[in-house]
């Protein structure tokens, strides 16, 4: 039994070390398959943006509206609400820290919130972590990224580009069976109270 667990762990680590992105590049100063910077995937100009969020975790599915508000100095706030209006979580992130202002009980788990913080940080700044592999298309647009990791391996895809920004952002944690899709909602707006 112990041997099986050991084998499974080795298998998982080996699997997670393999990149699934073909022709990917990394950030560096020089060399083959190296770029000096990567393009952003979320427009940082608007004050607030709204996305439809669809989350699949194992057999469960949830969808709602994600509001992103930008402050100065790479400081952001994410609020997820159900379609019915109830707040699911309210998280503030900056370059180093994150604060959870509110989170419903079933999701109020430090590891889950840390994973979300990492995902959002990579969406806002694709080079937030070192050692990420990127796929950039002929139009110099970021179409995918992959961050290796054992259980928290992350793959993101950016598709449906309109006016320089992707309309669909997919976040995949294949080992956790957690999949998140963000779709831009150009008709949605958050107006001042």
């Amino acid at each position: 039994m112990k041997a099986f667990a050991y084998f499974s762990l080795i298998f998982l680590l080996t699997l997670s070390a393999c990149s699934t992105l073909k022709d990917s590049v990394r950030i560096g100063k020089s060399g083959r398959n190296v770029v000096t910077s990567v393009p952003r995937v979320i427009d940082t100009v608007p004050d607030t943006q709204i996305f439809e969020l669809q989350m699949n975790f194992k057999d469960d599915e949830f969808s709602g509206l994600l509001l992103l508000k930008k402050y100065d100095n790479e400081h952001y706030r994410f609020i997820l609400t159900s379609h019915f209006g109830l707040t699911v979580f309210d998280m503030e992130i900056n370059k180093r820290d994150y604060i959870t202002h509110y989170c419903i009980q079933p999701l109020n788990n430090q590891r889950a919130l840390y994973l979300l913080r990492n995902d959002f940080s990579m969406l806002l700044k694709p080079d937030f972590f070192p050692n990420i592999r990127y796929k950039i298309d002929a139009s110099s647009r970021l179409t995918a990224l992959e961050r290796a990791g054992s259980i928290t391996k992350t793959v993101m895809y950016f598709t449906g580009y309109k006016d320089s920004w992707p309309s669909l952002l997919s976040i995949e944690h294949p080992h956790l069976k957690l999949y998140i899709k963000l779709t831009t909602l150009p008709d949605a707006s958050a107006s001042p109270i």
């Binding site: 969808s63 509206l65 706030r77 019915f84 109830l86 707040t87 202002h101 949605a188 109270i193």
Partner: protein, 219 residues
């Protein structure tokens, strides 16, 4: 002299307070008496007996005070006696939430998801409250709620405070506003605390116009 001046000042202040409170009281709501509550309950029950269905436009306003922002969704609300409720969102995206008996169906981007309401306690509470409001059974709701009644010249306000921790963790208070003359539900407010609330405004109500339960079908 000093005492006379103080007395004069106190009198002026008292008069001002009485006058200003009177002005505020005219605009503000006041608690209903037990007799007024009973009369309201009976009238609501009578209306419920003749209401087999209701359809209205609704505007959902999610207020995020901490961001000084509000998010607006719009759609059609449908109710059919006794346990069928539908919120059919049209903007900013199409999303249907249909409750029929103990089942909840969600239609999103053509995908259908059906769950048992016992797995979604929040929607179960909402269903109970909406039904009680339509059927005139507010006072018959179980003891896990504290219900208070207020009124002003045109409206009746029913405040429902859940006492069960599972619900109160998510919703601090639910307020239902009725038109005093017609007893139509004008708005429903969910106060989540944490500087966040959601208001549903119901307009253009049409009664007993839904002839079939087709739109509430779960399977």
């Amino acid at each position: 002299m000093k005492r006379v001046f103080l007395y004069f000042l106190l009198t002026i202040q008292t008069l001002f307070l009485v006058y200003s409170n009177g002005l505020i009281a005219e605009d503000k709501m006041k608690p209903m008496s037990q007799q007024e509550i009973s009369e309201f309950e009976i009238a609501l029950k009578n209306k419920g007996e003749t209401t087999f269905s209701m359809e209205s436009q609704f505007v959902q306003e999610k207020n995020l005070e901490m961001l000084n922002r509000k998010m607006i969704s719009k759609g059609i609300f449908r109710y059919m006696k006794e346990d069928k409720i539908a919120f059919l969102y049209e903007t900013p995206l199409k999303y249907h939430m249909i409750i029929n008996g103990s089942k909840l169906k969600i239609v999103n981007n053509g995908k259908i998801q059906t769950v048992d309401l016992k797995n979604n306690p929040m929607m179960k509470e909402m269903k109970g409250l909406i039904e009680a409001s339509f059927l005139g059974r507010l006072s018959g709701m179980d003891s896990s709620y504290k219900i208070t009644y207020f009124q002003n010249d045109n409206k009746i306000f029913v405040f429902v405070v859940p006492s069960s921790k599972g619900v109160s963790d998510m919703i601090r208070k639910i307020s239902v506003t009725f038109d005093k003359a017609t007893l139509d539900i004008l708005q429903l407010l969910l106060d989540e605390g944490a500087k966040s609330s959601t208001v549903y405004y119901f307009t253009q109500p049409k009664f007993n116009t839904i002839k079939s339960d087709e739109s509430f079908r779960i399977l």
